[in-house]
Symmetry: C2
Subunit: 104 residues, 2 copies
């Protein structure tokens, strides 16, 4: 498990699995914290463990994800997220996010 990295105000992540084809990342949001609109070539799935997360994908209606729900973000789809309440999610990427690896 990597160390926590602050990625936005009230949002931090740590890498749980850094594999050959997949990466699993734990992300914690304080209530009201958000990740701004972005995209990446990596396919993503976000699974909510605790709390509520408002999720936006380009050309899709907003969705509020509850614990146990999973969102799929295909490669290059623009998306953003905002914590309705304090929440913990796991983000899954394939291929792994090389930009999430600790610089050595």
């Amino acid at each position: 498990m990597s160390s926590w990295v602050q990625i936005a105000p009230g949002v931090k992540r740590r890498v749980a699995v850094d594999g050959e084809k997949l990466m699993v990342v734990e992300v914690r949001f304080e209530a009201g914290a958000s990740v701004p609109t972005h995209s990446h070539i990596h396919e993503q799935a976000t699974h909510v463990i605790e709390g509520q997360l408002r999720f936006r994908r380009a050309e899709s209606p907003d969705v509020i994800l509850e614990p146990g729900q999973t969102m799929h973000i295909p490669s290059n789809v623009v998306h953003s997220a905002e914590a309705v309440s304090a929440c913990t999610v796991i983000d899954i990427f394939s291929p792994p996010r090389e930009d999430f690896r600790a610089k050595t």
Copy 2:
């Protein structure tokens, strides 16, 4: 979300995300239920949501996974799992498990 499929006594799964490069599968175990030793070319990560899961990987000591913990299973590594208590996990695969897709 696919329908639940019974995969062993006391163990069922449903596919949450069936993507291009990744698949996310929810698996529920009754206490004491197990998945026998097996392997597959698909790289896997198992994240425990609730309960305790005893996990065995070839040539590694047994581990009891608690909620919030994640296990990495590289391609072709023989593994098995047994629920110490009733538990819910998510299994992540890359590439997707074509054998988990509903036959049409």
